[in-house]
């Protein structure tokens, strides 16, 4: 899952994949702004066929938060 999230974030934010470490803060370290977050959200919802609740979205600070959320989705 980490590799998938890394690829999505690197492409969307136009940054080197090596920068997308698990502990990287999506906004502070990777430079994402509100439009990037919206696009990430829609991309994840489309790809995984889910709706991410607001309270979960608010918890997405690091790359690891996103990976953990996706890992915990019902199979």
């Amino acid at each position: 899952m980490y590799e998938e999230v890394k690829t999505i974030l690197a492409r969307q934010l136009r940054i080197a994949p090596e920068r997308v470490t698990l502990d990287a803060q999506i906004k502070r370290d990777l430079g994402a702004d509100s439009v990037d977050i919206l696009q990430l959200l829609m991309r994840l919802e489309d790809d995984y066929g889910i709706t991410i609740p607001d309270q979960e979205l608010a918890k997405f600070e690091t790359v690891n938060d996103v990976v953990t959320f996706l890992d915990n989705l019902p199979k």
Partner: protein, 339 residues
């Protein structure tokens, strides 16, 4: 043939103004075809009293309505059967549809367009570019006016390239004069973003960059397009519109305050009417979202049929101007990824 999809259930005067605007454009531009989205029964009921070429107009049923207090993110996720979201999805999915016009919620339209429609290759952020009349009888574009609150210097350079091409290809302005909105004219004015943007714009020979512009000079006629972040651009446009409207109101109130003023105003009535028409935003169409892979035009929420028709004209010109190809060609010269 150009096919334009009209979101008919957004705006103060919808669906009547949207349908009337489409019918008027259909009369004036013979190669235009339309798809109207919205409540089918309501649209059919309205259209049955009208005379038009039925082979050039299709209705797609979209029963849901977007409320003005709904969050854009909820609209794009939950209102999939609304006239706006259905129009956006059809625009994305159908190759035969060239462009979309909407007078609905700006926030929802931006969110939907940014996430559902692709971008011209190399474009990082699409941006709005509305047009205002200038005091010398010309026009000025403001890019961005609200799609991107947060920007980088590279975003501003792309806005400059896109809007300069737009003014040239759609409005026929040769070598548009591009300015950067700032708090002073000198290159070192403003914050780091503005200073870096000034440098980047100076190093972009494809545009005619004339330096920084202070907001008070917007309508001077000295500039053809002004580049700024979406927050500042939105404030700039609304402040300008609001000042003009309030001045007109005060003028009217003052004229009625004394009989001698009324007499003077009577003699100048024609001039007042001309000025009012000159400042009437209904005559200037809507705000094009530059940089999306398909054309999206956002009309003012209070657009009447004339304004909707103008929006359709803008969409038509965008589609027949080869704007996207040229935009891609220039933007890709400056495109760089970290990897």
């Amino acid at each position: 043939m150009i096919k334009i999809i009209i979101d008919c259930f957004g705006g103060d005067h919808s669906p009547e103004a949207n349908v009337e605007g489409a019918l008027a454009a259909m009369t004036n531009m013979p190669d235009l075809h339309f798809i109207l989205t919205g409540d089918e029964a309501t649209l059919q009921n309205y259209l049955k009293t009208k005379s038009y070429d039925t082979s050039r107009l299709e209705i797609v049923h979209a029963p849901e309505v977007i409320g003005c207090d709904e969050r854009p993110i909820d609209v794009i996720r939950l209102k999939k059967e609304s006239s706006m979201i259905k129009a956006i999805r059809l625009l994305r999915d159908r190759d035969d549809i060239n462009a979309m016009v909407s007078t609905g919620s700006t926030g929802a339209l931006v969110a939907a367009a940014l996430t559902r429609i692709g971008r011209v290759k190399g474009v990082i952020r699409p941006a709005f570019c509305p047009i205002l009349p200038t005091m010398d009888g010309g026009i000025v574009g403001i890019c961005d006016s609200g799609a991107n609150v947060e920007v980088t210097p590279e975003h501003l350079r792309q806005f400059a390239i896109m809007s300069s091409l737009y003014m040239e290809k759609v409005y026929g302005i040769e070598k548009p004069r591009v300015a950067l909105l700032n708090v002073g004219k000198e290159a070192e004015k403003g914050d780091e973003i503005r200073q870096k943007a000034h440098f980047l714009l100076s190093e972009t020979p494809e545009i005619h960059f004339v330096g920084n512009m202070e907001s008070r000079d917007l309508l001077s006629g000295n500039y053809d397009v002004v580049v700024c972040d979406g927050f500042s651009g939105n404030v700039l446009v609304k402040t300008t519109e609001g000042t003009a409207l309030e001045l007109l109101k005060k003028l009217k109130k003052d004229i009625y305050s004394r009989p001698i003023y009324k007499l003077g105003a009577l003699l100048m009535k024609r001039m007042f009417m001309e000025e009012k028409e000159f400042m009437n935003y209904q005559n200037y169409g809507g705000s094009v979202l530059l940089g999306t892979s398909k054309t999206v035009v956002k009309g003012h929420g209070s657009s009447k049929a004339t304004a909707v028709e103008k929006c359709i004209e803008q969409a038509y010109k965008m589609e027949t101007s080869s704007l996207s190809a040229k935009m891609e060609e220039i933007i890709m010269k400056y495109e760089h990824y970290e990897y």
